[in-house]
C-alpha cells in the first residue's frame, strides 16, 4: 500500500497553482489536506501524474466576517480551525455543530473545508451543510475569479462545476436570517465513520412560528448532497406540527433513490432519511 510515483509541485501563490494545474491537465491533482486523496493514493486507486500541494498558500487560509454580514472562509482553512472558530460558532452554529461528526480530530487537524467540498464525496457532511446554508463558492482559474452558488456546484457523483484548471479559493456563507433554527442529524456505523445517512436542516420561522423558508439537505443517499425540495416547499407557510414534520420527513424520504452498499440497503437508507429528517425538524421546532 505505497503510492505510485508522481511529480510534485508546491506553488507559492494561487496563480502559480493555477498555472501548474493548466499545464498538468488531466493528470494533475490538487493536494489540500489529503485526508481523502492520500488513502486513495495508498491503495493506488488514485495515481495522479502531478500533485500540486496547496500547503503553502496562506492566502487561502482564514475566516473573516464579510462587510454585508456572513462569513468568508478560505478554502485551505482546516476543519479544526472552523471547529474552534468563535466567529463560526456565532454566525453559523450549524457549521460548528457538524464539525465533530466529521471523521476524527486527527483527520480534522489536516482536512480542509475546500478540500472536502471540492472532493464532493456523497457521504460527506459539509456539502449538505453548505447546501442548507446557501453557501457561495469562490473559484479561480486562468480566466480569473467566479462565484458558484452551492446549488449549481454539485453536478454529479464526485463531480463539481469546477473546471479542470480551476481551484476553489473560498467559501462564502451568507448571513442567516434572524430567528433561523438549524439542526444536523446523522447515523454512522461507528463514531467518526462515513454516514449511513445524514441530514442538515435550517428553518426560518416568522414571528408567529409559521415557516418562511426551509432548507433540508440529505447526505449519503445519492450522487451528492440531496436537497429535499418537495419537503422544503411543503413546510413553507406551516408551523412545525407533528403532522407537518411527519409529512416533510416522508416526502424527503420518498423522493430519494439511495445507493446500496454492504452497510445499508436502499430501503434502510430511505427509512433512516425519514427518521433523521423528522428528528432534525423536531429539534428546530420553536
Amino acid at each position: 500500500m505505497k503510492p505510485a510515483p508522481f511529480e510534485y509541485a508546491r506553488p507559492g501563490s494561487v496563480t502559480e497553482a493555477i498555472d501548474a494545474l493548466s499545464e498538468g491537465g488531466f493528470g494533475a491533482k490538487l493536494l489540500a489536506g489529503g485526508q481523502s486523496l492520500i488513502p486513495a493514493m495508498n491503495f493506488r486507486l488514485a495515481q495522479p501524474e502531478l500533485l500540486i500541494d496547496l500547503g503553502n498558500l496562506d492566502e487561502l487560509r482564514g475566516i473573516r466576517e464579510c462587510e454585508h454580514g456572513g462569513l468568508m472562509i478560505g478554502a485551505m482553512t482546516t476543519h479544526r480551525e472552523v471547529e474552534r472558530s468563535e466567529l463560526v460558532a456565532r454566525h453559523t452554529p450549524l457549521l460548528a455543530e457538524v464539525m465533530p461528526w466529521i471523521a476524527h480530530a486527527q483527520i480534522r487537524n489536516r482536512g480542509t473545508l475546500g478540500g472536502s467540498l471540492a472532493h464532493a464525496d456523497p457521504a460527506a457532511e459539509l456539502p449538505s451543510v453548505m447546501q442548507v446554508l446557501s453557501a457561495v463558492l469562490h473559484a479561480r482559474g486562468p480566466d480569473g475569479e467566479r462565484t458558484i452558488p452551492v446549488d449549481d456546484f454539485y453536478v454529479g457523483l464526485f463531480t463539481t462545476d469546477l473546471e479542470p484548471d480551476e481551484l476553489l479559493t473560498a467559501i462564502e456563507i451568507p448571513p442567516i436570517a434572524a430567528g433561523s433554527r438549524c439542526a444536523f442529524e446523522e447515523v454512522a456505523r461507528r463514531h467518526g465513520d462515513f454516514a449511513l445517512v445524514g441530514v442538515a436542516v435550517i428553518i426560518e420561522p416568522d414571528e408567529d412560528g409559521a415557516i418562511k423558508g426551509a432548507r433540508i439537505s440529505l447526505l449519503s443517499v445519492g450522487e451528492g448532497p440531496v436537497l429535499a425540495e418537495r419537503a422544503m416547499e411543503g413546510l413553507v407557510g406551516r408551523t412545525l406540527s407533528d403532522e407537518a414534520i411527519r409529512a416533510a420527513a416522508r416526502e424527503a424520504a420518498e423522493d430519494l433513490d439511495p445507493p446500496d452498499d454492504i452497510h445499508a440497503s436502499p430501503e434502510f437508507r430511505r427509512h433512516l432519511a425519514e427518521v433523521l429528517t423528522a428528528r432534525a425538524l423536531q429539534r428546530v421546532r420553536v
Binding site: 505505497k2 447515523v187 456505523r189 461507528r190 454492504i262 452497510h263 440497503s265 434502510f268 427509512h271
Partner: protein, 782 residues
Amino acid sequence: MTTTGTIGSLIGESAPRNEDHRLLTGDALFVDDVHLDGMLHVAFVRSDYAHGYLRHVDLSEARAHLGVIAVYAADDLGDYWAPGPLLVPPPPIERCEFRSATQVPLAKDKVRHVGEAIVMIVAESRYVAEDAAALVEVHIDPLPPVATTEGALADGAARIHEQFDSNEAAHVVQEKGDYEAAAAGAAHRIRRRFKMDRGASAPMENRGIVANWDEQGGELTVWDTTQAPIPIRNGLARMLGLPERQVRVIAPFIGGGFGPKIMMFYPEEVLLPWAAMQLKRPVKWIEDRQESFFATTQEREQIHDAELAVDAEGRILGVSDSFLCDTGAYNPYGLTIPINSQCTLLGPYAVPNYWSEFRLVFTNKPTVTPVRGAGRQHGVFVMERLLDLAASELGIDRAEIRRRNYLPPDAFPHDHEILYQDFAPLVYDSGNYEPALDKALEMIGWDQFKSELRPAYEAEGRSVGIGIVSYVEGTGVGPYEGARVTIQTDGRVCVTTGVGTQGQGHFTSFAQLVAGPLGVTAADVDVITGDTAKFNWGTGTFASRGAVVAGNACHAAALAVREKVLMTAAAALGADHEELEIADGSVHVRDAPDRAISLGDLASLANPLRGAVKPGTEPGLEATAYFGPEHGTTASGVHAMVLEVDRETATLNILRYVVVHDCGTVINPMIVEGQIHGGVAHGIGNSFYEQLVFDEGAQLMNASFMDYLLPTATDVPHIETAHVTTPSPLNPLGIKGVGEAGAIPVAALFAQALEDALGSDVGEILEMPLSPNLLFKLLHGD
C-alpha cells in the same frame, strides 16, 4: 523433590508489567523495526480471481524495472516449491473421513482464492516492488467460484482440488448415548438452523518477516511475527536442508496474534528465507492491511442444523447437531475448529445423549485457521440459543433452565465420551458453575431488572433487554512447554522459555511464578521468550495455554533452582538445610538474619572459576523443567448483559456487561481481566460490527478498515468482572487458560439480550454477526 521452608508466592498479585517500559517509549522491537544493511523489500502479485486456471505470467517488464532485484513465479522455485505441511492431522476418531490439501508457496496451475500469491518481487524498496508488481501480466482462465459453505457441496459445484471428487474436506461423527431414543420420549424438541459468518483476526500489527543469510557462518536468522517460533525454526531447517541450530527464528514483540499468527507455514514464511539465501542479502516483507484481508487466515463460517430434546422441566435429554464448517481454499489446520465447536457445544451442562456430525468443506475463500475462540463460540451459540428457545417454550426463566442443567460440583472429573482437539478424551477436570451464575445474576441485577427496570423502560418507550449465558472453554492443551531459570551473579533471575508473547503479559506472569520461590520480586526477573537461540524446545502460544503449560514449567524450574540455592547456601553458611529461609534476594538462617548470603553471591559460589567441586555437581544456580498436561483444563464462565435498541435507527447501546469467570488459580488478576476485556470486545465485534462480506464471485467486498469495522472505544462498554476459582487438578498451580474466554459467549448473549429487548414482535435471532442493516430487516421485514 522435597523442599523446605515456606515457599513465598506472588501468585494472585496484580504486579505491573515488566514489558511496559519498552512498549511505552517506542523502544520495543517489532519485526518491521528490523533494519539490516543492504536489506531488500518484497511485494507480491496476488490473484484478482477466486478460482481459475493460471495459464501464464509475463514477468519481463517487472524484471526490467529499475530497482528490481529478482522476480519469482512458482516455476522459478524449482524443487523448493511444495505444498505446506498438514499442521494438525485428524485425531483418532472412529468415524472420520479426512482429505488434506495445504497451501502452496506460489500458485502454480490454479488459483483458489482472491489474494493467493502468484509472483514474488524483490526490490530496493517496497515502493519500487509495488511499482513492479503492477507491471506483471497474469493470465487466468476463470472457473466458477465456490462462494458459500452450502454451495461447496451443491450438485455441479466446481471442484477446488481436482484430485478429490468433491469439495468435502472431512466428514466426522461423534456420538454419546442414543439421541434418537432419548428424543423420542421428549416433552419438547427444538430444532433450528444457526449461522455464523466470517471475521478477521485483525491484529493491529500485520504479519511480517525479515530473513538474513550469513554465508560465512552458514546461519539463517529469521524475524517472524509468529506465535510459534520453534516449530517455524524446525520446519525451515528441514525445508532448506540446514541444521536446526543453524537456523534462528526470533519472534520479537508481536503486535497481537489472536490465532492466525500461529498458522504455519504461510507462503511468505517459506519464501523470504529462501530468497535471502538465493540473493545473499537480507529481505523484508511486511504485510499491508489490504493484503492481510486475503493473505492472513480467517475464521468463523459455520451452519448448524441442531435439535435439543428436553423433558417437561426443561432438563436436557439430548442434543443432535449436524453442521457445515468452511475451511476456505486449504485445510492445513485439519479438524481443530469443528472439533472445538463439537465439544464446546456441550457447555457446562449434563447432556446424556449427543449426536454430532460435521462436514468440513473447501470454498474459494482465504484459508481458515483458528481465530480467538477457534470454533468454540459456534458451539456456545447453538447450545445457548437452543436453551433460550426451550426456556420460552416451557415458560421457564432463562437463568433457571441453565441452572437445572448444570453439571453438579461432584460430577468432576466428567467424561463426555468424545474426543477433544488435543486428541485426548473430552474430560472436564473441575468446575463449579452455580456460584458463577448466582454471582452474575446478582451483579447484573437479574430479578430487579425484571421486576422494576423493565416496566420502567417500557413506560418510557425504550427497548431494553437482558441476557445471561454460560460456557466452558477447553484450555491449556499439551503437548508441553519448557523453561530454564537461572540466577545470575548480580542476583537477577533470568527465565527463558519457548512460547512467544503477543501481549498476554508473559514477561510478568512468568516472572511472578518464578520470583515467589526464589524470594525476589517480579521486577527482579527477566523473562526471555520467542528466540530459538535462547530456548530450544516448545510449541507455541495458542489455545489459551501459555500460562497453564509454560507457567507450570517456569514454576517447576524455579523450585528446582530453589533447591540448589538452599544446598549451596547450607554449605556457605554452615547451616542446616532446614534452618534456611529465602527472602528479599538472599538466604538467611531462620532467627539469625546476620547469617545471610545474597543470591548473587550464591550464584558465584555455584560457578567457581578455580578449585574443586564435588564430583557430579552441576554448575550454576540453574534448572530447566518441562510440563506436559495429561489433557486440557476446563475454564468456564457466565456473561450477562443489558442492551438497548433504538428501533428507529436499528442501532444498539450496551448499558451493562458482566463477566464472572473461572480460570482456576489466577496468577495476575490485572492481566487476566485485561484478557477478558479484549476477548469481550472481540466478541462484540463478531456480533455486530465485524463481518467479511464476500459476493457471489467470492470477492471480498470489505478489505479495509473503512469497511471492516473493528469495535472502537465508543462501541465497547465498561465490563464488570468477578472471579470464581476452581483450581485445576491437572497442574501443580491449578491454573486454567483465559486467552480466548472473553470472546466465546458474546454472540449467544448478544442474540438473547437483543431478542429480549425487541420482544415477541420480532423473529428469532439465529444468525451472527448482526448489523444495523440486518436489524432493520428484522424490525421491518425484508
